[in-house]
């Protein structure tokens, strides 16, 4: 049996987990192709017009998988990864949305609710649906979940050590990259790591000799410590992580500037925005929002990143010079 996993949204955070899980249960795992113009276009065509770009991309990937004659497309319903904190409503309604868009797709969708206490989503109770639907035994499922968890924790450990997710997912010998200035990149994994949608942003940085730090590289406790500053956390798990990471970046001297990469139509980010813009200014930390959408054209991204980082370099080296001068 072939299980298809769309290369979009949480793929970038959980693929090692999912791949190990299904393969340990004896299934073949197929992913959709890398995001491309045709995947994006078809997603834009089929999805609701006003929905955010990542959801459109996801829709395109679902159709791409249908062409690969998979038996099931795995579309989990992420509900919560922490008590009292949810995922964006679009994640919570994702299987409903896909079912609504295409007639007769219900039987092709493998879905279940994920309600977890942490980002470790290996809790058994979430997967009992598989026992009937995939005909696996409880014991096998438990073993597979354990294997998947181990694999995922390994992936997260490397990620936290500074290897970016694309390196870890696509290369056997992942590399770390350095630079003469460091940018804190605030953005969800599917915006940061989807090379097509973000015009290969990470490589743009590399060519400009810029080191990038993202939220997925941060230790959980650092994020949580920052979040304690807020009387009320935001409702969305990953938005909170971005919020905590951003405040850490604002305070840290080794971060020379912050870029917020956000997709057109992202609701949680619109609430995050005033906090980042207002407080980065208070912290005197250079800040820029980079908005990506379905209009593909990479020159504006490069131009904006160049301009922003040029200013940072000028500021940084001017400051160093002054210090030297004084000495």
């Amino acid at each position: 049996m072939k299980i298809g996993i769309p290369k979009a949204l949480m793929y970038y955070f959980y693929y090692p987990f999912w791949k190990t899980l299904f393969e340990s249960l004896g299934f073949e795992v197929v992913t959709s192709d890398d995001t491309s113009k045709s995947i994006l276009d078809i997603g834009v065509k089929e999805a609701v017009a006003e929905i955010c770009v990542p959801m459109k991309v996801y829709t395109g990937h679902v159709l791409n998988l249908l062409d690969k004659s998979v038996d099931y497309i795995y579309i989990p319903r992420f509900v919560s990864l922490r008590k009292g904190i949810f995922m964006c409503p679009k994640f919570m309604g994702l299987p409903d949305m896909i079912k609504g868009l295409f007639d007769g797709i219900e039987n092709k969708i493998l879905t279940h609710n994920i309600v977890s206490k942490s980002t470790d989503i290996s809790e058994f109770h979430n997967y009992t649906v598989f026992i009937d639907k995939l005909g696996v035994s409880r014991k096998d499922l438990k073993n597979a979940l354990k294997k998947a968890r181990d694999k995922w924790l390994e992936f997260r450990t490397l990620n936290r050590q500074g290897y970016d997710i694309n390196e870890l997912l696509t290369s056997d010998k992942p590399k770390k990259y350095d630079g003469d200035i460091t940018i804190g990149l605030i953005g969800y994994v599917y915006n940061v790591y989807d090379r097509f949608v973000n015009m290969d942003l990470l490589n743009v940085f590399r060519k400009l000799n810029i080191k990038v730090v993202t939220f997925d590289m941060m230790e959980e406790r650092i994020i949580q410590r920052q979040l304690k500053k807020f009387k009320k956390n935001m409702f969305w798990e990953f938005t909170n992580m971005l919020l905590g990471t951003a405040y850490e970046f604002m305070e840290r001297d080794d971060i020379d500037g912050i870029i917020h990469i956000t997709a057109f139509g992202c609701g949680p980010d619109s609430i995050l925005e005033p906090f980042l813009t207002i407080d980065s200014e208070k912290h005197k930390k250079p800040f820029m929002t980079l908005r990506i959408d379905e209009q593909t054209g990479e020159s504006h991204v490069i131009t904006r990143v160049e301009a922003f980082t040029d200013l940072i370099r000028i500021k940084k080296y001017k400051a160093e010079k002054t210090v030297e001068g004084v000495i």
Partner: protein, 365 residues
């Protein structure tokens, strides 16, 4: 403490509550172009429309001298529950020294909740507070009851504008109440008055009934939804909404199961399409569509603020419902760009479809 609050539908419940408790109240002006302009100017570009309008409302109220904003919070995951925090940040950054009293669910932060209650309670006795709350609740119930009559009968008025005029005068009457007894008196008078307006009945089979569903703010606030109820009424269609403030209070604030039954039924009807509550009113919107359909309404208008997180999920499902049941549903995005001419054209076309459908059905019989 000069209190103000968000403007949604009728501002008189809030106004009455705080006035009867002896506070100084700055009732915000009805949202206008100025409100929208203010909101758009100072809100994040991709914030949802209600956040912008409500921020605009606050700015206008602050100009009028308000210094305290009372509003509700929420548990998400819809953005509305975080409006207060975001707006506080924006207003403080603009230099306003304003206090926000945000009522979150007590179980989220009991201490803050009780502090907030104390601020609102002031020197009033608990007896007085309970009496006031009851009066305001009765007023909300009563106003909704009367408004439902208007939404239905206005479709058939012989002289255009009579019902709207009467309704405005009736709301002014409600504004003057002091007690639950006043509410009863005014309601009686109001219904008498509405019944005395001349109506030109149309045959039962030609009557058109439209349900309005969607995100609560854009459904409830006529000044930003293109006055859609009046427009539909003017075209001869009866209207019923999926949201009335008193029903919201029943479901959200009264901890008795019997008060929640209606909403639970609606949610059940939406379950086939949206399995769990995903925030906002997405599941309710879908449930309400099924409900209106089952009750024989001829079509539904679905209102959503541009980019609204939950309503975009319901939007994906609504297209399927239209195909599955061949049921007319008109989805309208509400935002600062909404042009009235566009809305009118779409409503006209929508009603034409419904009329033709009804006509074909009659012939078939």
């Amino acid at each position: 403490m000069k209190i103000t609050f968000p403007y949604m539908g009728s501002p008189y419940m809030y106004e009455k509550l705080f006035t009867l408790l002896g506070h100084e109240v700055i009732t915000p002006p009805k949202p206008s172009q100025k409100t929208v302009d203010y909101g758009v100017k100072y809100s994040p570009e991709f914030a949802c429309f209600p956040l912008k309008v409500i921020l605009g409302t606050y700015l206008e109220a602050l100009e009028l001298g308000a210094d305290t904003i009372v509003t509700s919070g929420g548990n998400g995951p819809c953005r509305a529950g975080y409006y207060g925090e975001a707006q506080k940040k924006i207003l403080q950054n603009m230099g306003y020294d304003v206090e926000f009293i945000i009522f979150d669910e007590p179980k989220r932060d009991l201490k803050t909740f009780l502090e907030n209650v104390k601020k609102i309670k002031g020197n009033n006795s608990w007896r007085q507070v309970i009496k006031t709350v009851k009066t305001v609740y009765d007023m909300a119930k009563s106003m909704d009851k009367v408004e439902k009559i208007v939404e239905c009968k206005r479709a058939y008025e012989c002289n255009k504008g009579e019902f709207t005029k009467a309704w405005h005068e009736i709301t002014e009457e409600y504004r003057r109440i002091e007690s639950s007894e006043d509410v009863k008196k005014i309601e009686r008078k109001a219904i008498e008055r509405l019944n005395s307006i001349k109506i030109c009945e149309v045959p039962e089979e030609e009557k058109i009934r439209i349900g309005i569903v969607g995100e609560i703010y854009v459904v409830m606030e006529p000044s930003i939804n293109g006055n859609i109820e009046e427009v539909l009424n003017a075209y001869g269609a009866e209207v019923e909404r999926s949201h009335y403030i008193s029903e919201w209070i029943d479901f959200n604030l009264i901890p008795l199961p019997s008060y929640k039954e209606k909403e639970h039924q609606i949610l059940k009807k939406g379950e086939k399409y949206i399995e769990i509550i995903i925030g906002g009113h997405a599941k309710q919107s879908v449930g309400a569509i099924i409900d209106f359909m089952e009750r024989g309404f001829d079509g539904v208008v679905h209102l959503k603020p541009f980019g609204c997180l939950p309503e975009l999920v319901s939007q994906s499902v609504i297209d399927k419902i239209m195909r599955e049941y061949d049921y007319p549903i008109l989805s309208l995005s509400v935002d600062e760009q909404m042009a009235i001419a566009n809305v009118l054209t779409r409503i006209e076309a929508f009603l034409d479809v419904i009329k033709q459908k009804k006509h074909r059905k009659r012939i078939a019989r």
